[in-house]
Structure formats: C-alpha cells, structure tokens
C-alpha cells in the first residue's frame, strides 16, 4: 500500500447551513465563490455540491447582469 494520504472531506457550505435557495441579490455570499478576477470557483475547489453549484452559477450570472458582481475584476481590465 502506498503512504496513507489524508483526505480532506469537503462539505458543501450551503448544505451545511441548510440553505435551500441561493439568492442572486445576496452579494456577500456570492462573492465568496468567485475569484479575484471574477471567475466562478469550480466546485472541485470549493466543495459545493452539484445541486448548489448549479444554483450558485445561475445566481452569480444574474448578479453580473445587474452589476452587483463584476464581469471581470477592475484590475484586470
């Protein structure tokens, strides 16, 4: 057997706090799931479950439309 590797169990933040609906108006929450550049963080990195990631993506894209979240970060432009 190879060396014991510790596997960090990632738990979906939304499931943890029992959130059923991700709101596009909730900028504070959404900001945690985008990079400095403004890209959506993949769920393999954030640990968000499939169902919530789908909701999250939609919410972020909506927030971008109404200019509450950036399309591209100001510094990158």
């Amino acid at each position: 057997m190879a060396k014991d590797r510790r596997v960090r169990v990632k738990v979906c933040k939304f499931c943890e706090s029992k959130i059923v609906h991700i709101d596009y108006k909730d900028e504070k929450v959404l900001r945690r799931f985008i990079t400095d550049r403004g890209k959506i963080i993949p769920r393999r990195m954030s640990g968000v479950c499939e169902r919530h990631q789908r909701q999250l993506t939609r919410a972020i894209k909506r927030a971008r439309q109404i200019a509450t979240l950036p399309l591209v970060a100001e510094s990158v432009k």
Binding site: K10, H21, D23, D26, R51, R64, A67
Partner: protein, 130 residues
C-alpha cells in the same frame, strides 16, 4: 399566475423623490396590466461592480437599486420591460420568474451550524429566466 421579480437599476443622480415617483409609476403600470401583490424593495444607492454607460452617454459608477416582487400574467412583464427599455434613466433591468415563493432571505453562515453531508436535501425552488 407566476411570480416575478424585476430588478430596476436607476440613475442615482436623480432626486430621491423623482426616483420614488418612477418606482410608483412602474408599480402602477404593473397594476394596470393585471399584476397583484406588488412588493417593492428599495435598496438605495450602491456602487456598481462595473461602470455602465447611460443613454445620455455618461458613465455611471453608482446607481439606485429596486427589486419588485409580484404576481402577474406574462403579458404584464412584456409591457413593463418595453417601458423600461425606453426609459432614459433606467440603466439596467432584469426579470426573474419564480415557480414557487422563494424562502425568506437566509444568511449563509460559515461558522458553526450542524454538519450535513455534501448532498443537498429538500425541494428546490424551480426558477427560470423570464
């Protein structure tokens, strides 16, 4: 009738009272088009994530946000959007349809809270872009 939520981003250089008036006008238009249970939620002036050029050619870095939640036939949304499209002071608008009433605003809290498995549970609110 489906539920809708319209976000209206208005030029914040207008007087407070003028913006109020505009929102009232939008609500009246919706009522005329058969909307009911209109719940406006004015969030006030806030910074935009990126600057938007208004119809007057000026770049805006802040604007006034209002969310209107209502129950209406689809035709009402069409009427409203056609009106918003030509409004000089509306920088952005977006309508979202909800098939179910979304649960009251929940705040995601990273600290504490019971540990739940990675799979979500409970029924999800079905949504579609209006």
């Amino acid at each position: 009738m489906p539920l809708y939520e319209t976000t209206v981003v208005i030029n914040s250089t207008l007087e407070e009272s003028v913006i109020d008036e505009r929102i009232q006008k939008i609500a009246d238009l919706l009522t005329q088009s058969g909307a009911k249970d209109i719940r406006p939620d004015r969030r006030g002036v806030r910074r935009l994530a990126y600057s938007i050029r208004g119809k007057d050619g000026q770049w805006r870095t802040q604007a006034d946000y209002t969310f209107l939640f209502y129950e209406a036939p689809g035709t009402a949304v069409r009427t409203l959007e056609s009106q918003l499209r030509i409004d000089e002071d509306v920088l952005r608008y977006m309508t979202v349809r909800y098939d179910h009433e979304p649960p009251a605003a929940e705040v995601a809290d990273d600290n504490g809270g019971p540990s739940v498995g990675p799979k979500g549970r409970g029924p999800m609110a079905e949504e579609s872009e209006g």
